[in-house]
C-alpha cells in the first residue's frame, strides 16, 4: 500500500529525515516510536502533504502512485488521513458544513452522489456514537473551544466519516485521559479492516495496549534504527530510549 524509500526531508535547510525506508501492507498496524525531535511528526506530515517541508531525496509510492507530486486534498480523497497532533481551531466554519463538504468531496471523487443534508445527518449520528462525540460539539465551529481530548476525538470522528485506507495517527494519545484514550482506541479498532492500514505515531507504549501494532519502528535522528514486533514497545517502556541511542553510538 505504502512504500517509502530512502526518504530525506529538510525544513529551512535543516535535515529532519535522513533516509527512511518503510513498507506498509493492507491490514497492518505500524507503530512509530522515538524520542522528541526524532522526526516522527515530520514523517506524518510529509505523508499528508504539508508543504513546509522539502523532500531532498527518496520516493514515496502509495497504491502504486507517486505520492510526492499529489496535492493534500488528492491524497485525502485517495484514502490518506492524518489525525493531527494539534488540530486547528477554525472559528466561523461550522462543524457540520465542514464535515459535509469533506464527505461529499470524497463521494464526488468516487463518482457517488453527494449526500443530502438529511442523509448526512443520519451518517453523522452513526459515527458520532462510535467515538461518543457530543452533539453540542458538532454544533460548534471546527474545534472551537474544544478541550485537548475533544479535539482528538474529533479527529477520529472525522476518520470514521471519511473511511480512509491509510490512517496516520500523529500522537493521538497525547493530552488524553485514560477514558478518552480507551474511547479513541475503540474507535480506531472498530474502523480496522483487512483492506486498510494504520500508522500510529506515539511516544508512549500506553496507546499500544489498546491499538495493538503488528510492527514497531524506532525513529532516531531521522532514521529508523530498529524494527520489531509489538514486544519492542514494551521493552522501550521498560528501558527508555537510552539503550537504543547507545546502540547507535550516541552519547547519552
Amino acid at each position: 500500500m505504502l512504500s517509502i524509500k530512502n526518504l530525506c526531508v529538510s525544513i529551512e535547510g535543516k535535515e529532519i529525515l535522513n533516509g527512511i525506508n518503510l513498507e506498509i501492507k493492507p491490514g497492518e498496524i505500524h507503530a512509530i516510536m522515538g524520542p522528541n525531535g526524532s522526526g516522527k511528526s515530520t514523517l506524518a506530515n510529509v505523508l499528508a502533504g504539508r508543504e513546509d517541508y522539502e523532500i531532498t531525496a527518496g520516493e514515496i509510492t502509495y497504491m502504486g502512485e507517486d505520492l510526492m507530486e499529489m496535492a493534500p486534498e488528492d491524497r485525502a480523497r485517495k484514502g490518506i488521513f492524518l489525525s493531527f497532533q494539534y488540530p486547528v481551531e477554525i472559528p466561523g466554519v461550522p462543524m457540520v458544513n465542514f464535515l459535509k463538504t469533506a464527505v461529499n468531496e470524497h463521494r464526488k471523487f468516487k463518482g457517488e452522489k453527494p449526500l443530502t443534508a438529511g442523509e448526512f445527518l443520519k451518517v453523522m449520528r452513526e459515527k458520532k456514537a462510535l467515538v461518543e462525540m457530543d452533539t453540542e460539539l458538532t454544533n460548534r465551529s471546527v474545534n472551537e473551544g474544544f478541550s485537548g481530548g475533544e479535539k482528538k476525538k474529533n479527529e477520529i470522528f472525522q476518520m470514521a466519516l471519511l473511511e480512509p485506507k491509510l490512517s496516520i495517527l500523529d500522537e493521538t494519545d497525547s493530552g488524553l485521559d485514560i477514558d478518552a484514550l480507551r474511547t479513541v482506541a475503540h474507535g480506531v479498532n472498530a474502523l480496522r479492516s483487512k483492506d486498510n492500514a494504520t500508522i500510529v505515531v506515539t511516544h508512549y507504549q500506553r496507546l499500544l495496549d489498546y491499538i495493538v501494532p503488528d510492527h514497531v519502528h524506532v525513529l532516531l535522528k531521522g532514521r529508523i534504527v530498529k524494527s520489531a514486533g509489538k514486544e519492542l514497545a514494551l521493552e522501550l517502556e521498560e528501558k527508555g530510549y537510552d539503550w537504543i541511542k547507545k546502540e547507535n553510538g550516541e552519547q547519552v
Binding site: 486547528v88 466554519v93 471519511l162
Partner: protein
Amino acid sequence: MNAVTENNDLSLRLTEQYNTLRDSLKESGAPVLNIHRQKAFRDFVAQGIPTRKVENYKYTNLQPAFAKEFDFPVRKSANDFQLEEKFKCDVPQINTHVVTMRNGWFYAEANEAVQLPEGVILDSFENVARTRPDLVEKFYGKLADTSADAMVALNTAFAQDGYFLYVPKNVAVEQPLQIINLLQAPKDTYVTQRNLIVVEEGAEVKLILCDHTLNLQNYFFNNATEAFIGSNASLDYYTVQNQHNKAVSINSVFVHQEQDSHLTSNTVSLHGGLIRNNLRVELDGQNCEANMFGLSFLDRKQHVDNFTQIIHGQPHCESNQLYKNVLDDESTGAFSGRIHVKRDAQKTNAFQRNNNLLLTDKAQMQTKPQLIIEADDVKCSHGATIGQIDEEALFYLRSRGIEEKQARLIMMNAFSYEVVQTIKVEPLRDRINELIERRLSGDVGRCHECAYQCDC
C-alpha cells in the same frame, strides 16, 4: 499641473456648475432646503474637493473622481422606466414595503399587500419638505455639518430629493422597509440624494437599503442621511452596496440618539468602484446602545473607506464597532474609527475592532483607530489586525479532501461570518450569505437580473 491648481480648477468647475444651476435649484427645490444652499456651497468652496491632505480623507482622494464631466440633473425625470422588468431586488421572503429611488429621486412603488402602520410616513423628501416643512425644519441640517465635510456641504448645496421616513411615537413597524437606490441615467451623472429619518420616542423601525447601478455610465453618488432616534426608540439600518466599478459612492449617515435608544447599523459593501462610508453617531442621552458593523469585499482596483465617529456625550452608554474587509488583487481599503468619550460620559463602554484579510501582496489596507477619552471611569478598547488566510487552517481543510480554492472560500466565509450573523432580519441574512458566496467564488454578487458587466 500640480495637485493644488488641479483641485482649484475642479472646484471652479463645480462652482460654475452650481452657479448655472442655482436658480433652477431654488425654483424646483423646497424652501426649507433652499435656505441652506448658499452657506453649504460656500463651505464646500472653503474646503475644496477632499484629497489626502485633508485629515479626514487621508486614505481617499476624491480628486480623480471629480475630473470626469458629469451631468447634474436638477429635475425629476418622468417615471418612464419599467422597473418590474429591469430590476428585482429579490430578497426572498421579505414581504415588505419597497420604495425605489432613481438618481436620487423618490418614486413611489407602493406594495399594496403591505400597509404602513397609521401615522408612518415614507415619502419623497422633496414632497414632505414642501407640504410639511414643520416636520423637516426642526431636523434638516442639524447633524450634517457642512463646515466639517466638503462632501456633505456639496450634498446640501444640491439637495432636492431623497426619502423621508417618519415613525411616530410608540409605533413599531414590524416588517422591515426596503429602499432601493438605483443609478440609471443616459449620461455620466453626478447624483445627489438627501434623506431624513425621524423615529420618535418608543418607536421601532428596520430599514434595508440597497445601492445599485443599472447601466455602465460613470456615476458619482453623493448620498447623505440624517437620522434622529428618540428616547427608547430603535433603528436598524442595513445597507447593501452593489455598484459597478465606474461608480463612486459617498454615503454619509449622521445619527442622533436620545436616552435608552438603540441603533444597529450594518453596511455590507459587496461591490463598487470607490466607496466612502461616513457614519457619525452621537449618543446624547443615557443608556444608549449603538452597534456599528461593516463588511467589505474588494477586488481589482476597488477602494472602500469606512470612516466612523462615535460621540459618547452622556453616561452609561455602550457602543460596539466591528468592521471587516476582504481585499483581493490591487484593491485598497481604509478604516478610521474615532471614539470620543466626553467628560460627562462616565461608565461608558466603547469597543472597536477592525479585522482585515489580504488575499494578495498588492492589496493594501490602512487602519486608524482614534480614541479621545475625557471621562475617567470608562471601558474602551480598540484593536486592528491585517493578515492573510491562516495556512494551518487551510492545510487542515485540504487534508480532509477539500480543494484549495474551496478551502479558501470557506476561510473567507468564516472571516465574514462574525459580521453577517449580526443581521437580525433572517431572510436578509440568508440572502447576504448567498451573495457573499457568489461574490467570493468570482461570480458577481448581484442580487437581481441586471446584466452589468464588471470589467469596466
